[in-house]
Each structure stands twice: as C-alpha cells, then as structure tokens.
C-alpha cells in the first residue's frame, strides 16, 4: 500500500523462556495519518505489539520472531533503536520506566538533547509540552517526588516534545484525572491535525479515545480478531463478550436496541445519544 507507514506481515513473537507466543501471525497495516485504538483483554498482547514497533522487541526483549514488522520503510529487526526512535515515540504503560532525570524540565528535554535540535527550538518544544500537559507548576521538581498521575504526565510530555511521526501510547490516560485525560485527547487530535502524525493508542476505557479515533483494532490471545470503524466495533456483540471497555452510553443504546427501540447511529457520548432521542421524539 502506498501510504502505509506500519506493516506487520505474518508476524509472531514468543518471549524468551515463556513457552508460548505472545503474538501469533499478526497481519496489520496502518496508514500514514491514521488514529488507531487497540483494545483487547488483559494480557492479550497489546503492549507486546507496541514494543514490536519501536524496536524494544527484539532489541531489549529477546525472544523468537517469525515474519516481519516494517516501520516507515525500516525493517524493525534489522534497524538500530536510535533510528527507530527518531520516527516512533512510545509512552510506556508504567511511567516509572521512562523518567529518570533530576528535574521535570530536564527529563522532558532529554530526548531532544540527544537529537541535536537547536537550543531555541528545544526550549520552545519543552515549553509547549509542559503547557499542554498542564505541569508548569512541577517544572523544577524531581520527577520521582511526584504523584503517579503527575509522573505519567511528565512521561507523556517527554515523548510529545520529540514530535515523532508515529506516536504510540500504552494506556496514556490510565493514571490521569478525567479532565486531564480529555485534554490529552484534544492535544493528540491537535498534533494529528497540525503535523499529520500517525497515532496508535492502547486503551481499556474508550470514553475519551473513541471520540478521536478513526479505527479500532481488537485483539484476543495474541491475535487480531477484528478491525473496523469505531462505532461498528463498539456495537459488535463480540466486543462486549471480549470485555472491550464500551462506554456506558453505547451500552445503553445497544440495550434499547435489543428491546426493540432503534435510535439510529451508535453514540459514544450522552450528547450524541440525546440527539438520537430528540430526533425520534420530534419525528
């Protein structure tokens, strides 16, 4: 495909000494500029999939690989991590594995210092990242003396400041208060519009991320079981069975549908739900 930026072809991976495959025959193609949300039960292989994009697998986590992953023309297995990290920014599931400098500001600047970005540009990007994550008050604090949600915001800011072509986030809102989670989704949407970034988000709760996504990929037991437009996947019976975090308002819509009340397009927010209801009442 011409504008394809990430491609998994017949890709399988087993962690060393684990005895079983964490990913099994994955075929997945992501287009440049897509926003894709990846969902699936606890332990199904979501983080493993993300690690296979930025080269943590196989360069940090050893194991047995079959097939291939290609990112922006680079074959991941054969490309050095520093080449990959120029293109892919990954926010880890656990922020403590990602922050290590003595102040928040230095931590956020760390990645940029290593890529030779001019000083002025660097300062501007750090300021922007701090501003968009709302952590100005933490700027000169040591990151390890922060609350968990604050640490998470620092980790996210560090990756955003890099302005990677491909932004990969592993449960980015799990430690954030709901307002910050919503703000983050707006920021991500903004970056997508402004720079055409390709964005992959792993999430269990879909209230916030579903609103900005183009597509959902559903995984189970190391495999991709379905992929499709957001509302289609949220409304699928299979998603409910697999424990996909379908928003309560979407569930309500489906329950009414089962009871014979058809309200129209599958909603993600209460506002959308009410538009449907009003539409029917004023018919």
């Amino acid at each position: 495909m011409e504008n394809e930026i990430i491609s998994f072809i017949d890709y399988s991976f087993a962690y060393q000494n684990s005895g079983q495959r964490a990913l099994e025959n994955i075929n997945l193609s992501i287009k440049r500029g897509e926003i894709v949300v990846i969902v699936g039960p606890t332990g199904c292989g979501k983080s493993t999939l993300l690690r296979s994009i930025n080269g943590l697998i196989p360069h940090m986590f050893q194991g047995e690989i079959k097939g291939s992953v290609t990112v922006d023309g680079l074959l991941v297995q054969e490309s050095p991590v520093n080449e990959l990290s120029k293109r892919v920014g990954l926010v880890f599931q656990n922020p403590e594995n990602q922050i290590f400098m003595f102040t928040v500001e230095r931590d956020i600047a760390f990645g940029l210092e290593n890529t030779g970005v001019p000083r002025l540009e660097m300062k501007k990007r750090v300021d922007e990242a701090i501003e968009s994550l709302g952590i100005g008050h933490l700027r000169y604090k040591p990151p390890y003396e922060l609350s968990d949600g604050e640490k998470h915001r620092v980790a996210i800011a560090g990756v955003l400041a890099m302005k990677p072509d491909i932004l990969v986030l592993d449960e980015p809102t799990s430690l954030l208060d709901p307002r910050s989670a919503m703000d983050l989704m707006k920021t991500i949407e903004g970056l997508h519009k402004k720079f055409g970034m390709t964005i992959l988000i792993v999430e269990h709760r879909l209230e916030f991320s579903a609103v900005i996504a183009n597509r959902i990929v559903v995984m189970n037991k190391g495999k991709i079981v379905s992929t499709g437009p957001v509302r289609e996947i949220l409304a699928a019976e299979e998603s409910l069975k697999l424990g996909v975090g379908i928003p309560p308002i979407t569930r309500l819509h489906m329950a009414l549908k089962d009871g014979g009340i058809e309200l129209g397009q599958t909603p993600i927010t209460p506002k959308e739900f009410m538009q449907n209801v009003r539409g029917k009442l004023h018919d």
Binding site: S174, R205, L252
Partner: protein, 275 residues
C-alpha cells in the same frame, strides 16, 4: 474503624501532602476522588503506617499508627498500590502470594489452600511458576490484588484498581468489592474511573490540595459544579444523561433504570403509534 484526627503531613522537600484532615471510615464502600496530586495516595499511605502524620493522629481499630509497625497495621489494612511493579519482588507468582502469609504465621497447608483459592479467583493459575515481572500490566495488578486479599484484612484499600483491566475484570473487581462490603469489611477505592465508581454508588470523599473538599453520596458529589471543577472529574455518562433529561433528583444509577425510563418516554411519543 479508621479515624483521622486533624492530620497534617509535609514531604521532606516541603510539599504539602495533607492539611487538617479529619474523617472516619468504617465498613462499606468509600471512594476517594481528586485531581492528580490532590493527596489521595498520601492519605491512604497513612492508613497502614507507611507514612506517619506530622500533626494529629491516625487510628486503626483504636490503635494509634505511631505505636504500631507497618506489618502489624497491614494485617488490618491491606493496600493495593497504584503502581503494582513497585509492589512485586518474589521470583514466582506463587511465592509472591505465600510470602506475606508466612510472615503472618499461617501453616503450610493453610497457605497452600489460600494460594490456590486466590489464583483461581483471578484466573492466574497458569502463571503460578512464572516471574511476576513477566506478567502484563493488568495481570500484575491482579496479582497484587490477589496478594492483598489473601491476608483477609478488615480494610482493603485499592489505589486505582481498574488500571489495565478489561471490562470483564472490572466486573470481577466490582463483584468482589460488593461481596466484601456485605461481609462488613471496609473497602476504600481511589479511582479516576468515574464510570466504575458510579456503578458502586459509594460514599465519596473528594480531595483537593491535601484537604477534604466534600464527603457524601455519589449522586451529590458528582453533581456539584464546584466539586467537579476542583476534582477535575467528568460526570459519569448515566448521570450526565439524567441531567439532560432532568431526572437528576433521582439519577439513573444503573443501565436498567435508564432503559425503563427511556422505554416509557419513547412509548409516549408519537413515534410508537406510527411504528
């Protein structure tokens, strides 16, 4: 009963952790909400003696936390920490669970039975001999929960229990919390997941800047504009719907309630007669 009496706490670097906190938590389900950095984790770390107040006192079942060790207090108050990786240190999943039980002086056969029970409850039996560090994020959290539950503490503190959990596991946690509450245990849940909390309809304590901002029923706390702003929450979707439909004096606390109301509403509408 856990009781805080005018508790103040300041971190070594001068950051205010808690300010003049007075509250009592007994049996049943209590939720603690608040923005990032509000002091929620700092509050619960006072409950098993990991932190000791700078001012005031904390009592657990009448025992002043200043006069007890963390190990003694942990038998009464089990805490599931926000960051599970920090909580895991054994070589295998099985040892992780049995470790604490050994320290509490249980016999080997009791320990064995307990380990089996919690592993199967959390669907972790396949991981028995594996290193906890090779589990996925959500699995680690479940393992930590299994560890704490095995102690059967009077109070169970869950700091962000739903992180990394699919909705089936969330329902499992919800069922567990309800069961413990019915056995008259105290369950304290810190969570940013308002939808999860809304299902439980708990007492809610809202924190802001190290202080208690409000304390009351979920329907009250989640409706007040000032509290919503200060705790940076977003209203649960069913409550938001109730607000739009002006049923907020008796908001939908379950999907069934909403379904019934909407069925009624739609039946009254001309739509139904034409259909």
């Amino acid at each position: 009963m856990i009781s805080f009496q005018s508790v103040g706490f300041v971190f070594q670097n001068g950051t205010r952790g808690l300010h003049d906190v007075t509250l009592e938590i007994g049996e049943g389900i209590t939720a603690i909400i608040g923005a990032n950095g509000a002091g929620k984790t700092t509050l619960v770390r006072h409950m098993n003696g990991l932190l000791v107040p700078k001012l005031g006192n904390v009592f657990v079942n009448g025992q002043n936390t200043r006069d007890a060790t963390v190990a003694q207090l942990s038998r009464m108050v089990g805490i599931l920490f926000q960051n599970s990786e920090r909580q895991l240190f054994s070589n295998t999943v099985e040892e992780e669970i049995s470790y604490g039980l050994k320290n509490f002086g249980l016999r080997d056969d009791q320990i064995g039975a307990k380990v089996d029970e919690v592993l199967s409850f959390f669907d972790l039996s396949d991981y028995r001999g594996k290193s906890p560090l090779t589990l996925s994020g959500g699995e680690k959290k479940m393992l930590c929960l299994a560890v704490v539950l095995a102690w059967e503490p009077d109070f169970l503190v869950l700091d962000e229990p739903t992180i990394g959990q699919d909705s089936i596991n969330k329902e499992r946690i919800e069922a567990l919390v309800r069961r413990l509450a019915s056995k008259r245990k105290g369950i304290i849940i810190i969570s940013h997941d308002v939808e999860f909390l809304w299902n439980l309809q708990p007492r809610v304590i809202a924190m802001s800047n190290g202080s208690i901002l409000a304390d009351g029923k979920a329907s009250h706390i989640f409706s007040k504009r000032r509290i919503i702003q200060k705790t940076r929450i977003v209203r649960p979707q069913l409550l938001e719907l109730s607000t739009i439909l002006e049923t907020v004096s008796n908001p939908f606390s379950s999907q069934d309630q909403a379904v019934n109301y909407l069925k009624d509403l739609m039946n009254k509408s001309p739509l139904k007669t034409s259909a």
